[in-house]
């Protein structure tokens, strides 16, 4: 039996009302909320894998030549007597980056929250293409398992860095990895298709299925961020896919796209990869910025400061993000004149990010701040992302990049934006939307402990890496003591490793807290954070189809502390007697 509900654009959306089997309801479900939760569990698993790989590689840097605990479970091709070999170290570095970027951070931001939040925040029953959505999840899971399987094949997992520069990545003779490399390529290709299916869904749903009254400039910033991110993905991922196919052919069919014989060009790989890769890193940060805007606005009990500026900043970052890719290639041997042009565009892209940081500060200013766990993580994001942004300025300057390229200064920058930035925002989002997703609360004190542990340990791990980079410690090196200029950095590396082990344990603590709360958390009310976006008007968790009757939107998304309203928040679909017009 179907109910037709008419949308502002007249596109009917069918709501399933018949009872479903367990398998159709929870396993092969087309409900965007179930799919979002499936992504969440899968991604937390891959986050664990990525963290484990990091601890292993840090172990080698912190205690060089020592046997890894549990290392005798590893075969002699990886760690004879439990001591990591250089080729396995290169694999660890490669796979840590791969799992974290593709299978943890990106899908936690997009696969989880685009799926979960878009329909409930814009006021519709489900995504435009629910079945494509389901396929997107299962393709993602398959791609992750294919990637994981590459550890088990002869030659081991890929060891050419997550950036896979050719010819190293195309040559089993040079890298020592053959089947594992093929699996890496196949996995990311499948992942790319999964992502594209997602992008198609998110873009179509946001354009077509906004509830009546939900104009573009009344969209929550999460939706703007996810919408723009989806467009980035749609445009960038096909470039990566093409490059991957060429790389696969070079390795297996004897073509020479990226090999210097017969007209091939190693630099072509870099251009193609980074043409994807730079928009990719904005895919990795924009949704996080969206979460942070919402949570900070909620925690400060104030509308977001400069909503329109925030929207234009998101669009500017996305657009500029397509013309900065060469800043990864300043020292690559490309024409130095390109170094100039990419430097300029890279310095310019710092401006919209700065605008966003100031607007967040403006949101907190004059607020009435509640320090709930999501707010702690959101503010933590701003503080740490700012540091990542500042370090980015050093490398944007191409002459300075001559020195710091491929050193730990870059590693520090990456992790301040991806962990201090994206992952902190993800943690904030998990705490924030957990009650809505699961109908339970995560204990506030336990969450705060997680925040403080993570914040302190994160800085202990990654802040010193700026110094290591300044001293000239290169990336991806198994044993820095082989170089005279790195003779006295061992103590720093050991300290970082201890802190990293602690950071990993704090991640495990979060995992335990998460799962414990799933079963034993206090039952959650509909709107525990007293938030304004429309998902909070639904039960926790919402029913299949979200609304029986679609809501109507009356004002902007962050109407906190309206002077004419007694309670300090107003849901988007709440109609007060006095309503503030949605202009700023």
């Amino acid at each position: 039996m179907a109910t037709m509900a008419s949308e502002p654009t007249g596109i009917p959306v069918r709501v399933e009302e018949h009872p479903q089997s367990f398998i159709r309801k929870y396993i092969f479900s087309t409900d965007h909320k179930v799919i979002g939760i499936q992504f969440l569990f899968t991604c937390l698993f891959f986050l664990l894998i990525g963290g484990l790989l990091a601890v292993m590689l840090r172990f080698q840097l912190g205690f060089p030549g020592a046997a890894l605990p549990g290392g005798d479970l590893l075969p002699d091709t990886m760690a004879p007597d439990g001591i990591i070999l250089p080729e396995f170290y290169n694999s660890l570095v490669t796979m840590h980056g791969t799992f974290m970027v593709f299978f943890a951070i990106m899908p936690l931001l997009v696969g989880v929250y685009a799926n979960y939040l878009i329909p409930v925040q814009i006021g519709t029953h489900d995504m435009a293409f629910p079945r494509l959505n389901m396929i997107s999840y299962w393709m993602f899971l398959v791609s992750g398992l294919v990637m994981l399987s590459s550890f088990w094949v002869i030659g081991g997992a890929s060891a050419a860095g997550w950036t896979q520069y050719a010819p190293l990545s195309a040559s089993p003779e040079a890298s020592g990895v053959s089947t594992g490399q093929i699996l890496w390529i196949l996995s990311i290709a499948i992942f790319g298709f999964s992502s594209l299916l997602g992008s198609i869904n998110y873009i179509t749903t946001v354009i077509n299925q906004r509830a009546p009254g939900m104009t573009w400039f009344r969209l929550p910033l999460v939706i703007w961020a996810l919408f723009i991110t989806a467009i980035l993905g749609l445009l960038a991922i096909p470039v990566l896919t093409a490059a991957l196919i060429m790389l696969l052919f070079d390795q297996t069919l004897g073509t020479t796209f990226f090999l210097p014989t017969e007209g091939g060009q190693p630099l072509l790989w870099q251009h193609l990869f980074w043409f994807f890769g730079h928009p990719e890193v904005y895919i990795l940060i924009l949704p996080a910025m969206g979460f942070v805007s919402e949570i900070i606005s909620n925690g400060s009990r104030k509308p977001i400061f400069g909503y329109k500026s925030m929207v234009f900043a998101i669009i500017a970052i996305a657009f500029l993000g397509f013309i900065v890719w060469g800043h990864h290639m300043f020292q690559s041997g490309m024409n130095p004149a390109l170094g100039m042009s990419f430097m300029i565009s890279t310095l310019i892209i710092a401006v919209p990010s700065a605008i966003k940081v100031f607007n967040w500060m403006g949101t907190i200013w004059g607020g009435s701040i509640r320090f709930h766990t999501p707010m702690l993580f959101a503010v933590g994001f701003v503080m740490l992302f700012a540091i990542g942004g500042f370090s980015g300025i050093f490398m944007a300057s191409s002459p300075v990049d001559i020195y710091i390229h491929d050193t730990y200064f870059i590693v520090a920058h990456i992790h301040y934006v991806l962990f201090g930035g994206s992952l902190f925002a993800i943690y904030g989002a998990i705490y924030y939307w957990f009650p809505k997703m699961f109908g339970r609360l995560i204990n506030e004190t336990a969450g705060r402990i997680h925040f403080f542990l993570t914040f302190v340990l994160f800085n202990l791990v990654f802040f010193p890496m700026h110094g290591l980079g300044m001293e000239g410690m290169m990336r991806r090196i198994y044993d820095p003591s082989q170089y005279e200029h790195l003779a006295d950095i061992q103590d720093t590396n050991t300290l970082i490793t201890w802190a990293a082990i602690g950071l990993f344990i704090s991640g495990l603590y979060f995992g335990v807290l998460f799962f414990w709360s799933l079963f034993r958390g206090k039952p959650a009310p509909d709107n525990p954070w007293e938030a304004t976006t429309m998902e909070w008007t639904l039960p926790s968790p919402p029913q299949h189809g979200n609304w029986k009757e679609l809501p109507t939107v009356y004002h902007g998304p962050f109407e906190y502390s309206h002077p004419d309203v007694e309670k300090d928040w107003l849901s988007q679909n709440e109609r007060p007697d006095v309503v503030s017009p949605a202009h700023h």
């Binding site: 030549g65 005798d72 479970l73 075969p75 002699d76 091709t77 004879p80 001591i83 070999l85 250089p86 080729e87 399987s149 088990w152 094949v153 002869i154 040559s171 089993p172 003779e173 020592g176 053959s178 089947t179 093929i182 699996l183 390795q251 297996t252 198994y478 044993d479």
Partner: protein, 287 residues
């Protein structure tokens, strides 16, 4: 093969993809190891009765004056440089004062018919010591363990480049490490190099029988324990190519096979991989 924890073995069995297909460069040219079966399919080798076992011995000589070797500059690897009183010389033709040619791999090419032999339990050994491979030429049976040792406290990588067998390139970053590998098919010869120390080279001769030897500093070699019969013996040198002799030995006899190499043989074909067909000596080029 490296030893694997049983859990890993089960997972490898379940998940390993494309055992033969995906090996890229390592398989190029010679095709995959068709002779995969030699280690386990063969029944126990016919025991050669020591009472009738024959011996072939001889001397490999070099006519003329060997070029003087160039000194190897190990100053950038002090850990190795310290192990040498004077800089070792890189020379491919090591001829003694009496004309004996060392480092020639001598093996039975024909004459054993269908006989099969099981690989000895003792491994052949190649050691990296003072940034040199010791020995420079090593013979091993198909299926026999080759123990690769690192006696230097520096990184070496053992990069083997066979055409018939599956090669390997493994690192040994510390002193005292030992890695074991086997080759499944006969191949004469497999070049070995270290990418960290470009002067290091060695050759591995893999035969499917135990009858091989490497000529000593004075050029002499001995192959013993042979079943009586007619044999073609081949001597292989890394720059001077190959030379063959036919020898017949009766029960408990010692036959002689002397080989002579000269400088004008340099530049000719030096077989790597499968032995060259003497009727078509163009064969493979060296390395």
């Amino acid at each position: 093969m490296s030893r694997m924890n049983p859990t890993w073995l089960a997972l490898v069995a379940a998940l390993t993809i494309g055992c033969g297909g995906g090996e890229g460069g390592a398989d190029a040219g010679g095709g995959d190891a068709g002779a995969d079966a030699s280690t386990d399919a063969a029944p126990a080798a016919p025991a050669v009765d020591p009472a009738v076992a024959a011996t072939i011995s001889g001397t490999v000589s070099f006519a003329g004056t060997a070029p003087a070797g160039t000194p190897i500059d190990m100053s950038e690897e002090p850990t190795c440089a310290e192990k040498h009183a004077t800089a070792p010389l890189a020379m491919s033709i090591r001829a003694g004062a009496d004309g004996g040619l060392a480092n020639v791999f001598v093996y039975v090419k024909e004459g054993l018919g269908d006989m099969t032999f099981s690989a000895p339990a003792e491994p052949a050994v190649i050691d990296q010591d003072g940034c040199e491979y010791k020995p420079h030429i090593v013979g091993v049976m198909a299926g026999q363990n080759l123990a690769i040792r690192n006696s230097d406290a520096v990184l070496h990588n053992i990069n083997t480049q066979p055409t018939t067998n599956r090669g390997f390139n493994i690192s040994q970053p510390r002193a005292g490490m030992e890695t074991t590998r086997t080759f499944s098919a006969a191949e004469v010869m497999i070049p070995v190099k270290c990418d960290v120390h470009g002067w290091m080279s060695a050759y591995i001769g893999v035969t499917d029988n135990p009858y091989h030897a490497v000529s000593a500093a004075d050029g002499s070699f001995t192959i013993s324990g042979l079943p009586p019969g007619d044999y073609v013996i081949e001597a292989w040198h890394e720059t001077l190519g190959v030379s063959t002799q036919s020898v017949t030995v009766g029960a408990a006899e010692t036959g002689t096979a002397d080989f002579s190499f000269s400088e004008d043989m340099a530049g000719g074909p030096v077989p790597m991989g499968e032995p060259i067909d003497l009727a078509h000596p163009e064969g493979h080029a060296a390395g």
